[in-house]
């Protein structure tokens, strides 16, 4: 109660809480070899259950055995077909993420910095946001037809929202003490945005980027399943029609692998761009 007056003041005056090591930070200190073994073990259990289920159902169409999937995976990998499809999908993903960053991040800055811009744009965002990207596929088929544009459009749409919302949150969440400090040094507004708000929002934007990627990667499969003559999603649909379940499963594994690798790469990017944010809740 004694500090209530100061707490009510628009400038935060209470000492900031120092970064406390999070669970993630503690796990990071876990010996790598040991955690590798744990991962391996959980994979082994998963494959054992799969095998048992495949033996039980005894229907290669519904659930092929791990071994047949592995064989399919090998042949698809060797003749380069899988790589082609993966590259096609990945290129679309990269283009979509690029467009989403160029559109959503500046828009997020505008909305985060200007109350007025936010009042104009936010209602539209709130109406569009709950509509799944997949819901646009039929309409997009009419507009773009089957091809590259449709999956790129769907993914860009999906990726924009988490990026936009995280950018806004990051901009608004800029530490007010740092803004105050910059102002007392006579730093002009434009430079405050460039040198305080931008780096301050970066960790939150990076989180948005990872969420955007995860959403986009899920959406690409649906988009390619229906609206594309190439890519990982198309391949799944193709082999489904040919009733070649092992290859369907092989592609599902490829989707998981590409998604996982991209997230690992994004985490590495996050660590490189925002090394100071490690050990905070955003890292």
């Amino acid at each position: 109660m004694q500090r209530s007056i100061e707490i009510d003041s628009p400038l935060p005056v209470s000492p900031g809480n120092p970064a406390r090591p999070t669970l993630a930070a503690k796990v990071a200190g876990y010996p790598a070899v040991l955690s590798g073994l744990v991962t391996l073990r959980s994979f082994a259990v998963f494959i054992a259950i799969w095998w048992a289920a495949a033996a039980w159902t005894h229907s290669p169409l519904q659930l092929p055995t791990p071994l047949s999937v592995l064989t399919a995976l090998k042949s698809l990998a060797i003749d380069g077909e899988m790589l082609d499809n993966a590259l096609t999908s990945f290129t679309r993903l990269a283009i979509s993420m690029g467009i989403a960053v160029v559109v959503a991040v500046p828009l997020g800055f505008l909305m985060g910095l200007s109350e007025r811009a936010n009042a104009y744009i936010d209602p539209m965002v709130e109406v569009l946001r709950p509509i799944s990207g997949i819901a646009w596929i039929p309409l997009a088929l009419f507009i773009f037809g089957v091809g590259d544009v449709l999956p790129v459009f769907i993914m860009t749409y999906v990726a924009c929202f988490p990026l936009l919302l995280n950018t806004i949150a990051g901009v608004r969440g800029t530490d007010r003490r740092l803004l105050a400090a910059a102002r007392t040094m006579g730093v002009p507004q434009s430079r405050i945005v460039r040198h305080v708000v931008m780096p301050g929002a970066l960790p939150t934007i990076m989180v948005g980027l990872r969420l955007a990627f995860a959403g986009a990667w899920s959406a690409i499969i649906a988009a390619e399943l229906i609206g594309s003559p190439s890519g990982l999603g198309f391949a799944i649909e193709w082999y489904r029609q040919l009733l070649m379940s092992p290859k369907v499963f092989a592609y599902i594994i490829a989707i998981g692998a590409v998604g996982y690798s991209c997230d690992v790469a994004l985490q590495a990017l996050q660590r490189t761009l925002t090394p100071w944010a490690r050990g905070t809740e955003l890292a």
């Binding site: 004694q2 500090r3 209530s4 007056i5 100061e6 009510d8 003041s9 628009p10 400038l11 005056v13 000492p15 900031g16 970064a19 530490d175 003490r177 740092l178 105050a180 400090a181 910059a182 102002r183 007392t184 040094m185 006579g186 730093v187 002009p188 430079r191 040198h195 305080v196 780096p199 301050g200 970066l202 925002t274 090394p275 100071w276 944010a277 050990g279």
Partner: protein
Amino acid sequence: MSDTMTRPKLRLDHVTKEFAAPRTGLRTVAVSDVSLEIQAGDFVCIVGPSGCGKTTVMNMIAGLDKPSSGTIEIDGAPITGPGADRGVMFQDYALFPWLTVRDNIGFGLRNGTPGRGMAANDVEERISKHIELVRLGGAETKYPHQISGGMRQRVALARLLANGPDVLLMDEPLGALDAQTRLILQAELLRIWGETAPREERKTAVFITHDIAEAVFLSDSVVVMSSHPGRIRAVLPIDLPRPRDEHVRAHPRFAQLSEEIWELIRDEAYRAIA
């Protein structure tokens, strides 16, 4: 010239600050009818219990907050907003976590008014000089989260001084330090402020603390505030000789002054913990 001799560096005239709580609209008077004159070259400490509005007073002098009524002047001109003529050292240092020690110290010089018109070489030289001043050589490329609390505090001090403000505003800058480091840095602070220099060359310093001994050791005068609402209880001139060193603490006058200040705030201090 005679004008500047008589005119105070900072003048607070019947300053009142109210805050409205965001949801309830309930108004709290943080600072009530504070009038104070601070002469150029003075080292003034503000002491008082938590919630007495010390920080609010400092934020208003810094231009980060506006008084609800009353005026604050610097060199006779009203304060309308923040400016690099009044440097602030924040309670928790407010260092930029994404900048190295060197870039933090150089932030104002590179981006703000203090470095305007300076050649890039001069800016870098000035940064290096201040890194040496607070003895942070060797830690220049470290980030704030990689250094100790005492080092962060020195980074903040170096940043404040590198900007070369006329007025130093410091909000419990030594609060987070252990007792020994604190004593050493108090003496250091006086040296940097210009205790040994002639009066005209000293900066004007406003220093917030809740440590009475610290206030007596540092100040030319101590402003004692009381809380609910925050107002000035008394202004005590500290007539201890300068330059001051450790021995001044053993001076009978030191104990006497500390006692006087304690008498002024003890009732409230006891009430606060009751």
